[in-house]
Structure formats: structure tokens, C-alpha cells
Amino acid sequence: MEGSGSVVILAETAESGAPAAISLELLGLGRDLADGLGADLSAVILGSGMGDAARELAARGADEVIQLEHASLSTYNPELYQEAMLGLLKSFTPRVLLAGHTAMGQDLLPRLAFSLSCGLVTDCVGARVEGGQILFVRPVYGGNALATQRVTTATAMATVRARVGEAKAPTATPGEVKVIEASFAAPVRLEPKGRETLEDRECPLEEAPVVVSGGRGMGGEEGFALLRELASLLGGAVGASRPPVDSGWAPSTCQVGITGKVVAPDIYIAVAISGSTQHLSGMSEAGKIVAINKDPDAYIFKVSDYGVVGDWKQVLPAFTAALREAAPEQGGARWA
């Protein structure tokens, strides 16, 4: 069967309708795995009117793109997506199915894996081919250990974190796009009743080049106003460790860590954060890490590139003011 034994990535679109950054990264990772296995690389995209996104995926390294279309797939609905994918996977058996460790990937892949009796490895921070097998690397025990795992079933499934794969440049000859009308076998039991948006999508945390995060030591909401000021000066976004979210000083959409968002900005500024394993799991891949903490023994200094030992109430306003004064000619990229 065509497509059997192939590497398949499950793509998603960003708000703009273009393929999400994670999907281009998955294509990059998928290409490396496909080359290692001597297999083809396919992408699947579900939705309604996904033609442009599908063509973009075909131009970005997929040998084949399956555009699984249905009006009812325009937003993620677990059971409809599950049924549509199960219908598709009747016709071929991929060697591996990769999805992003995103809201959709986390919800959908376990459903698919258990329906098809396939092994699934979630939250991967690495994947490689070794001796003809795919090895997945993922954090366990809250990030206190990294496990290398392999799947023993014919199809392996995995969800992969952002920024693990590297997007590749467009190819000269784009792959083929195949449009398939989705069909649904089982009745749907889940009923969506509307959604509430809380986060400012102007600067989503995961895409911000600079993230300024506050921890328990901020002591309250007021401190977060200063963090926002610094973040907006740097064209970045505000993050938080879990305690400020639990205390209501910052919205839950700000949480960085193993149960919050995983970010890898160019610069991560951690203010009054001790550096728990759970927090580090969400930001240790940042380009440069800067820590401000009054405790010289705080673990965060061990994992940072720059640090100031001191009370943020004194350090932070002076830091922000100095940055503002030292700002290069207006309109510099990161200073806009």
C-alpha cells in the first residue's frame, strides 16, 4: 500500500491559516527520520479549505500531503478528528506518526494510539534513527531524568515539543497534494459549547523572542506590572512560574514549565524564580538565561548565563531604566 512504512507528520495551522511553526519543524525532523529509515515523508492536515496550507507543506519538504477535508473539521473536535484520522489510517500503516506536543497533539494522539493499539511516546525533546529503529527522548520525573524510549508496535506515534525539529528551506520540487473528503464512522458524543479567550494573542508566549518571567518572590500583582513594562520595552511577553498563577497574580496562560508552556526564546529573564525542575523543563532551551534573585544560592543561577543577586524591587527598575536609556537608535528591531 502506498504510504505504508512512511514517516507521517500531523500538521496544524496557525491563526493566520498558514502551517504552524511546529508543523514546519516536524517536517524538518520527519525528513531526518525518513532519510534515516529510507522512507517517504507525508504530511496530513485536517480542516476545511486547507488548500493553501497543504501546498505550503508540500513546498516545505513533504513528499506527499494529504488534505483531509470536511466542514466540521474547521476547529479541533476530538472525536471528529479521531474518526477522520482512523478512516485515513485504514488505508495505510505509517512507520511513525508525529504530532506537535500541542493542545491538539496531546489530546488526539493518545486517542489514536489506543484506538489502533499503537505505542505512543509523548512530549519528546528528541528523536533519531539508530540501527533501523526510532529512538525518542523525553523528560520523566518532572524533568529530573531523560528517558530514551522505543515503540514496539508496527506504527510508532509521538508528540514532539516545539523547537525540537528544525524547519527546512522550501524545496525546488514540491510534493504532491491529495485531497480526501473525511468520513465519520462513529457518532459524536462530545458537544462543544463555546470558548473563552483570555490571552493577548498579540505576542503569544511561545513565539516571543524575549520572555520576562516572575516567580513567587514577586509577592503580588504589582510586581508583574514592572515585568510587563520590561517585556514591552523588549518586544517580548510576560511569563510566570506556577505560584503566581496559583495566587492569581498572573493569568494561567502565562505559566511556563512542564505543565505550562514550553518556551525557547532568544532571551529568558527569570525574576524571583528559584529554578525548580518543573519550571526549568519549560525554559532551559532558551538562548540566553538571565536571573535576578536575592538568594545567591538559588539554583536558577546554576542554569543561567547572567545573574544579579539582589532584591528585584531595587534591581529591576534600575535595569529597565538603564535599558531604556541605552536603547539604540529608535526602531531597532527588538526595541520597536
Binding site: G119, L190, F301, V315
Partner: protein
């Protein structure tokens, strides 16, 4: 009695323990907890809290289900005392965490649930602090053939349906499903209440069933689909340039300059 709720609660080494308390044994591919007590997985505590809130609003009986090699009775007792009505423990050497994967765990829990006699709602944590997998809840629902909703920050039951506020990266959505159903619960739901000493005493008298590997009729060997072939400690440490000055204000200004000089900002 009415609504029957099962809360799946796993015992894990306290995830808030310092990194030094998680010894990585590479040759046995196991993490060995050192000097930290077992606790109920924090998200399973959130799930139990969700169950207790439902019990308070519409009435329910809550059974705490835990599977493990050897389960701390003190930890179970304290959880049950927070507001459960019974506990079902599945215990045995065969249930060593490092020998089970998500799929074998889900099969074992499903078998235990079949033994428990009826349920209307099953609540799980969004993920276990040791596996970090987030699979068992959805797997269990698939095996039992019931609808599943993940990442709840609020769970309500009304007229034979469950209504869930489901956490999204930029907010939340509301999703409903007919009972019986399974819901996985996220930290946003809120912390588990503390039981009173009196409640802990009273909880000792609540029914507790203990099952062994032979009672389930499921052999976990051969069920696993994922194998751990290596384990290592993460390497995260960097060398930190500490910026020092006479006053904290000066240190803050100097940090700005250093970051500018090094072309970081």
C-alpha cells in the same frame, strides 16, 4: 447514593523534592527516589477535589482507585479522608512502575474498574508526575468505550451529562458529554482540601478493597508497547556571569550595560 465517581490516583515520589532526591540509575534504567515520601500525584489530588465538589453539589459516592507495587496506607488514608467514600487498591510486585507503560497501566486500571461494579464518572489527573505521559486517562476511556474530555479546570454534573471547562493555551472552552464519561483534570481546578484530624480517624472505618495481580485476570507482561532503553540525568548547567556592584540599583544598571556589550539585548 446516586452518582458513582471513581478517581484514579497514583502514588509518586514527591515531585517537589529537590533534584538530588531523584537518583538516576542508568544501568537499571530507573529513577530511585532518595529520602522523599510518596504522595498522591498532584493532578490526581485536583481530580479528587473535583469529585468532592460534585459530591457537595449533587451528591455522589467517590471511590479512590490506586495501582502500585506497595501503596502507602497513610497517603491513601489522608486522601480518602478529604472526602472519598471507599478505596480500591491494586497492589503487587508485578506493578513496579518501571515495568509498566501507559498501555499496560490503562489495561490494568480498566480491569480493576470492571471489578469495582458500575460507575458514572471516572476522573484522572492530566498526567502523572513520574511518567509525565498524559496517556492513561484517554487510554482507559478508549478501553472502556466511554467519551473522554481532557484538561478540566471545572467539572459539573447535571441531568446525566458532564460539563467541563477545558483549559486551552489561550483560554478555555466548554465541552459536554453524556455519562458515563472520563475527565482528566488539570491544576487550574484547584488544590485538594485538607482533611481534619477527625475525618482522618473516621476514614479508617471506610471500606477498602485490596486486589492482587491474580484478581484482575490481566497479565501486564507483554502488554507494554513502549520500552525504555536508556535513562540519563539532564545536563542543564551553564556558567553564570554574576554582575556585581555596590548597590542593587547599580547592579541592575550594570546588567543592562553588560547585556548590551555582549550583544544579548
Amino acid at each position: 447514593m446516586g452518582l458513582r465517581i471513581i478517581v484514579c490516583a497514583k502514588q509518586v515520589p514527591d515531585p517537589e523534592g529537590p533534584p538530588s532526591s531523584f537518583e538516576v540509575n542508568a544501568s537499571e534504567r530507573k529513577v530511585i527516589p532518595r529520602g522523599i515520601p510518596p504522595v498522591i500525584n498532584p493532578f490526581d489530588e485536583n481530580a479528587l477535589e473535583a469529585a468532592i465538589r460534585i459530591k457537595e453539589s449533587v451528591g455522589a459516592s467517590i471511590t479512590l482507585l490506586s495501582l502500585g507495587k506497595s501503596l502507602s496506607r497513610a497517603v491513601i488514608l489522608k486522601a480518602v479522608a478529604a472526602g472519598a467514600d471507599a478505596s480500591l487498591l491494586v497492589e503487587g510486585d508485578a506493578f513496579e512502575p518501571s515495568d509498566l507503560d501507559s498501555s499496560s497501566t490503562a489495561s490494568l486500571l480498566a480491569a480493576a474498574i470492571e471489578k469495582a461494579g458500575g460507575y458514572d464518572l471516572i476522573l484522572c489527573g492530566r498526567q502523572a508526575a513520574d511518567t509525565n505521559a498524559g496517556q492513561v486517562g484517554l487510554g482507559l476511556a478508549c478501553i472502556l468505550g466511554i467519551p473522554a474530555i481532557t484538561l478540566a479546570q471545572k467539572v459539573e454534573v447535571e441531568d446525566g451529562r458532564v460539563r467541563v471547562e477545558r483549559v486551552l493555551p489561550d483560554g478555555y472552552e466548554v465541552v459536554e458529554a453524556p455519562l458515563p464519561a472520563l475527565v482528566t483534570v488539570s491544576g487550574e481546578l484547584g488544590d485538594l482540601r485538607y482533611p481534619s484530624l477527625q475525618a482522618i480517624k473516621a476514614a479508617k472505618a471506610l471500606p477498602q478493597t485490596v486486589l492482587g495481580p491474580d484478581d484482575l485476570g490481566v497479565d501486564p507482561h507483554g502488554l507494554a508497547r513502549v520500552e525504555t532503553v536508556g535513562l540519563e540525568a539532564p545536563k542543564r548547567e551553564r556558567s553564570c556571569k554574576l554582575v556585581e556592584a555596590d548597590t542593587p540599583e547599580e547592579a541592575g544598571r550594570k546588567l543592562a550595560l553588560v547585556l548590551r556589550q555582549d550583544k544579548i539585548l
